[in-house]
Structures are given as C-alpha cells and as structure tokens.
C-alpha cells in the first residue's frame, strides 16, 4: 500500500510542453510584483507587500529573507511554497558550510535550489512550486554581486536587472531603459522602488513594500525608516 504516487503529475502535452509548469508560471505572473537590480557595489531586491485589510500586522511577516550572511531571497507567487524553498535553501547553505567551512557561493546555492525545484517536476505525486525566486548575493572571494532568478521548472537565469510577478513585462521594459552597467547601489535601490511604483495601485509607503540589499557587508533587509527615506526622495 503506497502513500504516494510513483508517477509524476507533471507530464508532457502533445506539443512538448509541461502544462503544470506553464500553470505554475501563471501563478507566478499573478503574484505580487518583485524586482531585482545588480549594481557595481551590491544587489537590491524589493517586493510589494500589500495587505488586504488594515487589520494586518504588516511587520510581523517578511517576504525578503536572508538565506546566509551574504545571500538574500525574494519571490513572486505562492507564499507557502516560498517558505518551503527558503528552509531548503538555508539547510543547503549550512550543509555546504559544514563540509567546506566556507560560505556557499551564490551560483552554487542557486544551482542547488533550482535542482530542488526541478525534482518536483519529475517526482511522484508532487506538483511544481508556484513561485519564482530572486536570489541576491555578494561573493566575498570574488568581490562581486550576483542576481539570479529561479523558475518553477528548475531553470535559473543570471540577471543584471529583472522584474517578476504582476506586470513584469512593463517592469522589465522600465528597467531596460533605466539600467546602466555602472549603476551604484544607492541608485539601484531608487530605481527598484520606482519600478515597483509603476505597477503599484494606491499610495506606496514603508509598510507596504520590502527592500533588501546585499553588498560586501552582507545581506540585510532595510528597516521601514530607511525605506521611508528612499520614498521621500522619490516624492
């Protein structure tokens, strides 16, 4: 008596597509917008965190979360699925540290997470994750920033700047115009917030967006006060 299917629920359609993954990507595209921008001296990731009612306690739950001292993550899509991946990512990072006594390089972490996501498209009785992840990290060895996207299919991409979730096409078009190779972190944060603003309905405050930065000092989420300062300079 088996408690799980031995066959995968993600199967090919006649046209060669894995429909479940397409649907997962649709779930991502319906999710809250998130953006990431790589600067010369760091990476910024940000997301909209709109709550449906004023009764929500906004600052108790976070969407921008650290995975290691130097790597942080944000997502677009289903929150619960993100939590599972975050736990796995943190564990994978610590396992690496246990073996090598060295912080996991961002590309290595991304490869491992993407592998996890791929497994769920080819294992029995499970469905793909309904999130796309934006992973921002600073490599201490190479002294350089990294920005990666991980998709439900298990594919991963390295970006200079990108947007996910609702209106991501407009977001990316906006970034294409605004991005330059020598952008600095301060400007990048500014630009990230502006990109979010493009698809934001209503008033953007420090309580309904979250911003994280990764640089040589490590990864950290900006405090609401810091976000407020950036918002003030936008007007």
């Amino acid at each position: 008596m088996s408690e799980r299917y031995s066959f995968s629920l993600t199967t090919f359609s006649p046209s060669g597509k894995l429909v479940q993954i397409e649907y997962a990507l649709a779930a991502v595209a319906a999710g809250a917008p998130s953006v990431g921008i790589k600067a010369t001296n760091g990476v910024v990731i940000a997301t909209e965190k709109k709550q449906k009612s004023v009764l929500y306690d906004e600052h108790s739950i976070h969407k921008v979360e650290p995975i290691t001292k130097h790597i942080g993550m944000v997502y677009s899509g289903m929150g619960p699925d993100n939590r599972v991946l975050m736990r796995r990512a943190r564990k994978l990072a610590q396992q690496y540290y246990l073996t090598y006594q060295e912080e996991i390089p961002t590309p290595q972490l991304v490869q491992r997470i993407a592998n996890v996501m791929q497994e769920y498209t080819q294992s029995g009785g499970v469905r793909p994750f309904g999130v796309s992840l934006l992973i921002a990290g600073w490599d201490m060895d190479e002294d350089r920033p990294y920005l990666f996207q991980c998709d439900p299919s298990g594919a991963y991409f390295a970006w200079k700047a990108t947007a996910l979730g609702k209106n991501f096409v407009n977001g990316k078009t906006f970034l294409e115009k605004r991005y330059s190779e020598d952008i600095e972190l301060e400007d990048a944060v500014h630009t990230a917030i502006l990109t979010l603003k493009e698809s934001f309905e209503g008033q953007m405050t420090e309580d309904n967006i979250e911003v994280g930065i990764s640089n040589s000092s490590g990864f950290r989420r900006l405090t609401p006060a810091e976000v407020k300062d950036y918002l003030a300079s936008i007007g």
Binding site: Q101, E102, Q108
Partner: protein
Amino acid sequence: MSIMSYNGGDVIAMMGKNCVAIACDRRFGIQAQTVSTDFDKIFEMGPKLFVGLPGLATDTQTVAQRLKFRLNLYTLRENRAMKPKTFMSVVSNLLYEKRFGPYFIEPVVAGLDPKTNEPFICSLDLIGCPMVTDDFVVSGTASEQMYGMCESLWQPDLGPDDLFETISQALMNAVDRDAVSGWSAKDYVIEADKVTIKTLKARMD
C-alpha cells in the same frame, strides 16, 4: 602490533617564504619485511596543492582516490580551484564520516592559495581534527624524531633552496632512527610558478 606502524612511513611539511615544501619517505613494508622502495605517500590534488597520507598503506591509496573524487567534482561544479584551507575541511569531513571505524591515516596538507599564492600547511589526526601551523607539521611512525629534527633545524622565511635543504635533512635523519621508515625520500618544493620534485637517495635500509 599497532595498525599505524604496520606499513611504516612518514611525511613532513614546512612553511617557507612564499613557498611550502612537503616530503615523504618511500618505504612500503609489511612489519619487518620491506616490500617496495617506491611507495610515495604524497599525492597531487591540484597544481599547487599536495596531500601526504602516512599510515596504513591501503588507506593511503583509498583516501587519496576518494579525496581526488571530491576535489574533481568540486572543481567541475564550482568552476574554480579549491583553496588549501577548504581542502583541509574536505579531508576533515571525509575522515570524520568514519568516526567509529576510521581510516588509519594522519594526513598532511601543503599548498599555495590558487589566487593569492599564500602558503598553507596543516595536519589532521585520523578522525579529522585539523591543526594549522605556520612553521611545520609532521606525521608518521617517526613523528617524535621528526619533531625533534624540525624544532632544531627550522627557521622562518626560508627560501625555496634553503627550505629544500632543511626539510630533507629533517626527514632523512628522523627516518634513519626508525626501523620501519626510510628507503629513500621524495621532496616537493612548491612555489608560485613551479613545483620542484627531488628524490633523495638516503641510507637504503
């Protein structure tokens, strides 16, 4: 009969100025009987990274192979050379995995950082406890003798040629006072741009 002295053998590593040296004897014996005089205990893990594995000969071979396996996969996955310090952690991890049925090896690692060429030496015990030093490390059946020789002969900031002389004398005289070690020695002097390997014909007994 101690397992660690069943086959016999020794390795020393020394720190020099912008260089490291690692040396081993070449005897392979089964207790009193010498079986081979070209059994090297030092293995190249990278262009500037070497590991010495004195102890039980079967474990010398197996651990060398398993370490190379892990190192190769790391290099392919991460697309970069492994730092000596990281390699030490890999060796430690491999040995501790066998905590309650260990490999009878007490390894010595010597190398230069692939990017900065900073010299690095360390030794580990058979269950993976690492010890990093900035002068010398010794391991093997003549360890007491090697400690004595190194303590007397070693000085800081020796150049490659002086380091070669020092490590050779330290190893040769130590193994001469050990029945299950000797039968010539092999020296590796590792510098930023080259590795010099010399075989020394010592007392062939």
